[in-house]
Every structure is written in structure tokens, then in C-alpha cells.
């Protein structure tokens, strides 16, 4: 299937749905790893919106990317409950150990902030790929990163 076919299939799957734009954007990101800018116009046409409206929605939400992330996305919680258990220090140690900052991609690895995973009673919390980590430490996350990128 070409890229256009894949886009058309996603648009067709949501045809006629109420408030279809977010579900479409989620599906696109699952398919392409991001929401490619050249999809804005076809989406706009399918939903009878302007290209600017689609672009505005994509840019509003933190989840939607304009370029794919690294193969392994590591999300580190910055919120208060995790801070109370040394989360900020953990993030700083991990940044030093991996030689990268939050918001950066290095090789296969993307480091991101997240604001609460709902794991506040087993803080600090993180997510390595699909895997949730409670009572996290920089050593444990480093080990998991090494494991997934091996």
C-alpha cells in the first residue's frame, strides 16, 4: 500500500463519525509515527475543514509529532508526586548517564517529559516504550533502555 492508500484507508474508516479529527490523527500517528504535514489537506478535504484548522489542532496537542520519534520513547514524569520522591534528581541523573536532555532524540532513543501517569503512589514513575515503571530509579531505567535497544 502506498502512503496515499494508507491515508485514504484511515479517512474511510472514520467517514461520517462525529468529531473524527482526533481519532484520525491518532491513527495516522500510529501508522506513520507522526502526522505528516502533507496529510493536512486531504484530511481537511475529507472533514470539510480548512488546512489551517487541521494544522491548528495538530499543533495544539502535545501528543502529535511532526516527525517520528526514536524507536524507543522514554517518558519521565515531572509532576509533583514524582518530584516528592526525587523525580527531578532521577531525571537529571538519567540525562547525564544517557548524554541527552528531555525533549531530545539520540540514535534510537527519545527522552520526553510526561505530566502524570497515574502512578503517584509508586513514584517516581516512567514509561519505557509500552512498559510502565513504578518506584523508578535512573539505574533501572538505564537497564531497561539497554535491554530494549540491545
Amino acid at each position: 500500500m502506498t502512503k496515499d492508500d494508507r491515508l485514504d484507508a484511515i479517512l474511510a474508516a472514520h467517514a461520517g463519525r462525529e468529531g473524527a479529527l482526533l481519532p484520525i490523527l491518532h491513527d495516522l500517528q500510529a501508522e506513520f509515527g507522526c502526522v505528516p504535514a502533507d496529510c493536512y489537506q486531504p484530511i481537511a478535504d475529507a472533514l470539510r475543514l480548512s488546512r489551517a484548522e487541521v494544522s491548528g489542532v495538530v499543533s495544539f496537542y502535545h501528543d502529535f509529532r511532526d516527525a517520528p520519534a526514536g524507536k524507543h520513547v522514554i517518558k519521565l514524569c515531572r509532576a509533583e508526586a514524582c518530584q516528592s520522591m526525587g523525580g527531578a534528581e532521577m531525571i537529571a541523573r538519567l540525562e547525564r548517564a544517557l548524554g541527552m536532555k528531555i525533549g531530545e532524540t539520540k540514535g534510537d532513543v527519545t527522552l520526553e517529559a510526561v505530566y502524570c501517569l497515574g502512578l503517584c503512589a509508586c513514584a517516581p514513575a516512567a514509561m519505557v516504550g509500552d512498559r510502565l515503571v513504578g518506584r523508578a530509579s535512573s539505574e533501572r531505567i538505564e537497564a531497561l533502555v539497554a535491554e530494549v535497544s540491545a
Binding site: 473524527a20 496537542y61 501528543d63 509533583e80 497515574g118 503517584c120
Partner: protein, 507 residues
């Protein structure tokens, strides 16, 4: 042997899947027949993974378990992680679990378990009573919005019921973004049919045929469980073309957020649901009259809707017997952060803050002295030991310049840097502001800058910060900008020395 290992995200984050695998393989090696049930969590998160083993018809707890602790489960003698009968653990025994009655006891996706635990009784009674009497029952219960605003649920339902329109909606706000809050997640992962039943009753009561559950994308486990539960309820004919085959149509759909905290604000959520930027709407019009897609809409939090099946089963008056003042019923308190016994504790309104932190929570996890607790998420105030007599209810916290919010309590020990936390409050607001109103959009950024000046020893900055907070509180369109000053000002009030220490050093 019958064994329960929670499938809740917090349990999994602490290694529950590995423990479950270890139990299966140990059983295989020994040739023992073991039934492993993946239940929801009991909410005693500090004990997770909390494994339960049935002995003489009583479920005994073991935790926190590691795979290494598994072989001893099969051996005679005392297990090092044995906790005794799980429902006798004081943290559990002291609760009044109405909304969370089933959570942790059952397999979340088993319709048989749900039915056996009073499931669908509330919906059946609502079908018998009819719409009007159902709204009355919820009004009698005194239930108020558990998302934070505390608006009476019965009145909201009555408004929507009275609105004339061919299409109405029930929207469940499951965009639980407050740090320290995880009750919505726990309920959706541990007892999803309860939310479905609550929404079906709401639909019946107000004449809505369609419901949306808007879940934040940070909750992949909850999303999977809710989708599976909706499919199961549809296949069983409970929801769909006709409620339980005798009532009106009511169907449900899960919608996934996209990482915007502001979408927990109801009008912003509605815009997001409609496929727009999650910008806050000015009120009026009330969502009850012009909500999702311009139609009359009930927007309720997960916990408000999940309280409804119990209310309809046992009666509004029975629910209203619990509580304090105008805060009726139970509140699922989430105690988290730097606390020894973190988890979910459902209790009638009225427990004191000190009891909650010292007795229920067991003090700080670090063992260092307690410093402050932030109540109600990133927009909630900090409270110190002087507030330990404060009772958990909407009015008492509002009187102290704070809020109960979604009842998340985040404990900090003495190492907490209050200036850094105040700055974080402003930073979070700057990151998550929808940008519609100036006091929030610009104020949060100026707030960060001003706190940096305070940190650098600028004497005039504190006064300026107070003025800025005043503008944000009074001039913002919603609680995001309006309440961000709460943590900032309470931190300054409680710990003034931390906002002038650099100044002293500079002199």
C-alpha cells in the same frame, strides 16, 4: 489453588506481570493446578504487587511480591511477605467502599463477577423507576461532582433532562491529569462495568442515547480495559439498541485525548471531543444546554458516574447518610507522593487531614519530617501541619483558600523546595494553558520569570508576584489560570523564609 494478581497499571509498573508469570511457571514445575485471576487493585499501592491466595475460603495477602518470593507461596510455613487476610489489613478495613466496593475483588472484565457483586441492580431499578424518579434519587443522595468543582449532580441532570432536543449526550470526563490522582484510572481498570452502568443510568435519566468516555492518552491500560468492557456489555445486550433489552437505546464510545491537561476542563474537553483545539469555552451557554456538538450534555467525572449504581441500588437517602455538612457520601481519597502507605482510601467526607497523613498514610516514605501536602492536584493549595485539624470536605478546604478537587493528596517531606514547587506550578500552567485568556497565557510565563527574580534576591518581586496572582485568580476564564496561584500563594504563606532566603544571603 486460586490466586489473584492485579492487572492494574500501578501493580504492573511494580512488577505484577513478572510475578504472575513466576506463579504460573512455579505451578507448572510442581504440577500443581493454579487458577490465576488478574483482578483490579485493592488500592494499597505500597503493597503492590499484592498477591492474594485463597485459603479456607479467605483471601490472604502477600506483598509487595517479587518473582523470588513466589516459590515460598507453595511451601508450608510462614511466608516472609504474608499480610494475613487481605480485607483485615487496617488500611482496607477502615474504609467505606461504596464506589470501589468491587474494585480489587473481581476480574474487571468478568460479567459474571460483576453481576454477582450487585452489578446492574442500579440500572434495573432505574429502568423500573423511570427517568424522573431516577433524577430525584440522585438529587436526594446529595452527590456532587467528584471531578473537583463539586456541582450537585442531580441538578445538572435535571437541567439536561428538561432540555428539549432529539439528541443528548452523556460525556464522562476521564481526563484525569492531576498529579496525585489515580482513582479514575483505578476504577476504569478495576471495575469498568461500574462506569458503564453509571453512564447508562445517566442516559436513561436525562434522555441521552449516546455516551462518550474521554480518556487521556497517558492511560493506555484504562483505554484497553474500557474498550473491552464496552464490547462485552454490547455483546451481552446490556447497552446498545435497548438498555437490557427493555429500556431505551444507549451506546458508548471511548475517545482518547492527546496529552493536553486543559482537556480535563469540561468545555475544553467538549471542544476536543468535537475534533477542535482544546480551547476553553466561555459560559454561558452551559454544557447542560449546549454541550457536545451543540446538544444538551451531561459532563460528569468518572467517580461521579461510578457512584450512581450504588446510589440507585441502595437509595439516595442511604448515600446521604455518609458525609459532613453539604459534602454527602464518600470520597475516594488518593494519598500519594512521599508517603509510607500510598494508595486509594475511600471514606465518608469528614476525616481530618492529620489522621489521613499520619494514621492512614503512615507518615512520610522517607522517614524525614512531614513538610506540606498539596491537595487537589497542580491547582490545589499546599497545607502544613497547622491544617491537620481540617476535615476533608468541599467547604472546609475552600474556607482555607484551598480545594479538595479530585481528592489527590501529594505529601512532601522536609526536603521539598517550596520555591521550586511554586515555580513549577507556574511552569506547568505555562505549558498547559490553552491560550485563550491573557491572565493565564501571559500570567503563567510572567509568574515563572517573577519567581526567578525572587530566587535571585529581588525584594520587589514578591509584591509583584502577589499582584500577578490576583490578576490570574480574578481574571482567568477557567480554573487553570484561576487556581494556579493557589499553590504559589499558599507556599509563600506557609514558608515565607524560603522566598526571602537568597535576599538575606545577598545582604
Amino acid at each position: 489453588m486460586k490466586v489473584w494478581v492485579p492487572c492494574d497499571a500501578a501493580a504492573v509498573a511494580c512488577g505484577a506481570d513478572e510475578v504472575a508469570a513466576a506463579i504460573a511457571s512455579a505451578a507448572g514445575l510442581r504440577g500443581e493446578e493454579v487458577e490465576i485471576i488478574r483482578n483490579g487493585t485493592r488500592g494499597m499501592i505500597w503493597l503492590e504487587p499484592l498477591v492474594e491466595v485463597e485459603r479456607d475460603g479467605v483471601r490472604h495477602g502477600f506483598g509487595p511480591m517479587t518473582p523470588e518470593d513466589v516459590p515460598a507461596l507453595f511451601e508450608a510455613g510462614d511466608h516472609p511477605k504474608a499480610l494475613g487476610p487481605v480485607e483485615d489489613i487496617p488500611f482496607f478495613a477502615k474504609q467505606t467502599r461504596l464506589t470501589f466496593a468491587r474494585c480489587g475483588r473481581t476480574d474487571p472484565l468478568s460479567l459474571a463477577d460483576y453481576e454477582a457483586g450487585e452489578g446492574w441492580r442500579g440500572l434495573r431499578r432505574a429502568l423500573d423507576l423511570g427517568a424522573e424518579k431516577t433524577v430525584e434519587e440522585v438529587t436526594t443522595s446529595g452527590l456532587r461532582g467528584r471531578g473537583g468543582a463539586g456541582f450537585p449532580t442531580g441538578i445538572k441532570w435535571k437541567t439536561v433532562a428538561g432540555a428539549e432536543d432529539a439528541q443528548k449526550y452523556i460525556v464522562c470526563n476521564a481526563d484525569e491529569g492531576d498529579s496525585g490522582s489515580f482513582a479514575d484510572r483505578m476504577l476504569m481498570e478495576g471495575d469498568p462495568f461500574c462506569l458503564i452502568e453509571g453512564m447508562a443510568i445517566a442516559g436513561l435519566a436525562v434522555g441521552a442515547t449516546k455516551g462518550f468516555i474521554y480518556i487521556r492518552s497517558e492511560y493506555p491500560h484504562a483505554i484497553r480495559t474500557m474498550v473491552a468492557a464496552i464490547n462485552a456489555a454490547q455483546s451481552a445486550g446490556i447497552i446498545g439498541d435497548s438498555l437490557m433489552g427493555q429500556g431505551p437505546a444507549f451506546d458508548l464510545e471511548v475517545r482518547v485525548g492527546a496529552g493536553a491537561y486543559i482537556c480535563g476542563e469540561e468545555t475544553s474537553l467538549l471542544n476536543s471531543l468535537e475534533g477542535k483545539r482544546g480551547m476553553v469555552r466561555a459560559k454561558p451557554p452551559l454544557p447542560a444546554l449546549e454541550g457536545a456538538f451543540g446538544k444538551p450534555t451531561v459532563v460528569n467525572n468518572v467517580l461521579s458516574l461510578a457512584a450512581v449504581p450504588w446510589i440507585m441500588t441502595h437509595g439516595g437517602a442511604a448515600y446521604a447518610e455518609f458525609g459532613l455538612g453539604r459534602s454527602r457520601g464518600t470520597i475516594p481519597i488518593q494519598i500519594a507522593g512521599n508517603v509510607k502507605q500510598g494508595g486509594l482510601f475511600e471514606t465518608a467526607f469528614g476525616m481530618t487531614l492529620g489522621t489521613l497523613i499520619n494514621e492512614i498514610g503512615g507518615g512520610t516514605a522517607s522517614g524525614r519530617p512531614f513538610k506540606a501536602v498539596q491537595v487537589g492536584g497542580p491547582l490545589g493549595a499546599y497545607h502544613g501541619p497547622d491544617d491537620f485539624d481540617l476535615r476533608v470536605c468541599y467547604e472546609a478546604f475552600a474556607d482555607q483558600g484551598g480545594l479538595v478537587g479530585h481528592a489527590g493528596f501529594v505529601v512532601h517531606d522536609e526536603s521539598a523546595d517550596m520555591l521550586a514547587l511554586a515555580r513549577y506550578a507556574m511552569e506547568f500552567c505555562a505549558i498547559e494553558s490553552c491560550g485563550k485568556c491573557t491572565p493565564c497565557r501571559i500570567g503563567a510565563v510572567r509568574g515563572m520569570e517573577t519567581l526567578d527574580r525572587v530566587a535571585a534576591g529581588d525584594r520587589e518581586a514578591i509584591e509583584l508576584l502577589h499582584e500577578l496572582c490576583e490578576v490570574m485568580e480574578k481574571g482567568s476564564l477557567c480554573a487553570m489560570g484561576g487556581f494556579t496561584p493557589y499553590p504559589v500563594r499558599s507556599a509563600i504563606r506557609l514558608f515565607p523564609q524560603e522566598f526571602s532566603r537568597i535576599e538575606e544571603a545577598a545582604e
